[in-house]
């Protein structure tokens, strides 16, 4: 077993995380062969319900590997949930055309020890050029967990774009397969690596584990990488642990080569928390600017 040290987790430094695990059944594809057997959406145990084209629901399992030191759900895990719900809804709404994610906002309430995060998305607007989605996040007991929005640009369909089934009817899909589930913290599992913790400089390799249907880094995982960068930078600047609770994500270009490099600029730190800006570039594509993020963090008692 390969032994690696996670960059950030609740476990003490030196904890050994297994990086391989058995898989005993075939994956459930969304589009063709996507996602592969080993994919972050499977380890999040994403379950989704949709089909009426206007609303959709999904949920993910939350455990110690998707929580931070204060017990809050990793905002990147929630952003990935939102991205999955919003992307599915928008793709359905835009048929026969295709979509590109333009932005994602996430505003969270600090609720610790959530067991399962649930998302209910609905189409707010479908026009000629854009689709706008909003998403309510709740806990397994129905308590409010956060608000999210996403907007998408509608693009003319190209060869190779996934085909969305237009058959109608409510569908229920489970991403998890036998063996799914994190064995290590989500940042570690996705490959987030610290370059300079205090400045929030982290990298993320582009692997099949985090790809989207277009072969680039999944939008929620870009947000997760930004949250990882933001949390490190704010915590270092504040001198105490800060949890990221807001993300305003603007997608500029797809990260198709990797690794993705995230760098943070702390804007302000005060008694309740602070703000930080993050830029994510595709280092393998001439440091092309892919995503900008404004994040807000608060101290959680």
């Amino acid at each position: 077993m390969e032994v690696l040290t996670p960059p950030s987790s609740r476990a003490p430094t030196g904890t050994v995380w297994p990086v391989t695990r058995p898989l005993s059944s075939a994956p459930t594809p969304i589009f063709g062969g996507y996602p592969p057997e080993r994919h972050v959406l499977r380890d999040l145990a994403l379950e989704s319900t949709g089909g009426d084209g206007v609303t959709a629901q999904a949920s993910i399992a939350v455990d110690e590997h998707t929580r931070g030191v204060t017990g809050l759900t990793h905002p990147g895990a929630l952003a990935t949930l939102v991205d999955a719900v919003g992307g599915g809804l928008a793709a359905t709404a835009a048929r026969p055309d295709w979509i590109a994610t333009a932005d994602l906002t996430l505003h969270l309430l600090p609720r610790p020890e959530v067991q399962r995060a649930q998302a209910r998305g609905r189409v707010l607007r479908k026009g000629r050029t854009t689709v706008v989605i909003d998403v309510d996040l709740t806990t397994e007991t129905g308590a409010d967990l956060g608000l999210a929005t996403m907007s998408f640009a509608i693009l003319p369909r190209r060869e190779g774009n996934p085909v969305i089934d237009g058959g109608g009817g409510i569908t229920h899909m489970t991403m998890a397969i036998p063996g799914s589930g994190f064995r290590s913290p989500i940042e570690f599992a996705t490959g987030v690596t610290d370059v300079d913790t205090a400045s929030g400089h982290v990298t993320l390799p582009l692997t099949d584990y985090v790809r989207n249907t277009l072969g680039a880094v999944q939008g929620g995982i870009m947000a997760m990488t930004a949250a990882a960068s933001a949390g490190r930078a704010l915590t270092a600047a504040a001198g105490r642990h800060i949890d990221i609770v807001d993300l305003q994500v603007t997608y500029i270009a797809l990260a198709k080569v990797g690794p993705v490099t995230a760098r943070a600029t702390v804007i302000d730190v005060g008694p309740t928390g602070g703000s930080v800006d993050i830029q994510l570039v595709d280092a393998g594509s001439d440091d092309r600017l892919c995503t900008i993020v404004r994040a807000r963090g608060v101290e959680v008692a």
């Binding site: 333009a102 706008v132 302000d268 309740t272 928390g273």
Partner: protein, 268 residues
């Protein structure tokens, strides 16, 4: 033909805010950069003495939209998403504005906006991002001499009323404001100015929670306000150490209550 054919049409907002904008850098297709100034006057401050988020949002929408529009020529743009975070609203003034293009595609432009305090060594007041959809307007885009300079229209004589009075929104419930679409609140296209919608969101969030200031806004423009009256209803969502999250819906009551905008704000 559009409102841009008349030099003063749709410029009441710029006149009120005293907003001057100037293009800097090369005038090349697919890119643009603008700088601007506006006074940090008493009539744009909220109860805590800081510049009202509504004023900052309006300035951001104005300069970011113009920047995106120049980059989209020969098309033009309509705002779809404005995200702005206040850093320190207690500006001495005047305010300095800067906007540049992050991305200019065939379908959308993304511009970044920074608002600084020239009276305090250019300290950061707010930062944000405006995403706009590219359109091919009937009658063509506005025609500007480049590099563009848009000076603030001369202010009306007499004392300037407060931003809240300029908007004219009135409480129509504990969590709701109502606004009449007057000519001075329209943009050159004849619809409700995006900045006015944003300022209404700011006021509605504060009205419903009894708070003094908005510190963060993420606003999606969904459809234009054409008829009115316009209602803004705020739904307080939950509290955190840095304030209260509020969801705000803006509707055109005179147009079948059509949903115009949805926003999430943080107030304190």
């Amino acid at each position: 033909m559009n409102g841009f054919d008349h030099a003063d049409a749709g410029r009441s907002i710029a006149r009120f805010l005293g907003l001057t904008m100037r293009e800097v850098g090369p005038s090349e297709p697919g890119t643009a950069q603008l700088v601007g100034t506006a006074p940090a006057a008493a009539f744009v401050r909220s109860a805590d003495g800081g510049i009202a988020m509504g004023a900052l949002l309006t300035l951001a929408d104005s300069i970011g939209g113009l920047c995106g529009g120049l980059a989209a020529l020969p098309g033009w743009v309509v705002s779809t998403n404005l995200m702005l975070r206040a850093v320190d609203r207690h500006a001495v003034g005047p305010l300095g504005l800067e906007s540049h293009v992050l991305r200019a595609g065939r379908h959308a432009t993304v511009t970044e906006i920074r608002i600084t305090d020239a009276g305090r060594s250019s300290a950061l007041v707010a930062t944000g991002t405006l995403t706009s959809a590219v359109l091919q307007p009937e009658g063509g885009p506005p025609v500007y001499e480049r590099p563009l300079i848009l000076r603030a229209p001369e202010a009306d004589d007499g004392p300037t009323i407060h931003l809240d009075d300029f908007l004219g929104a009135t409480a129509s419930g504990p969590d709701r404001l109502t606004l009449t679409i007057t000519d001075q609140l329209r943009n050159p296209w004849g619809i409700l100015h995006g900045g006015v919608t944003a300022a209404l969101v700011d006021r509605a969030g504060r009205h419903a929670t009894g708070t003094a200031a908005t510190t963060d806004t993420a606003l999606h423009y969904l459809s234009p306000g054409r008829i009115g009256p316009v209602t803004a209803t705020a739904f307080p969502y939950g509290s955190r150490a840095d304030g209260t999250l509020v969801r705000v819906e803006v509707r055109d009551a005179g147009n079948d209550d059509r949903l115009m905008a949805v926003a999430v704000t943080t107030v304190q």
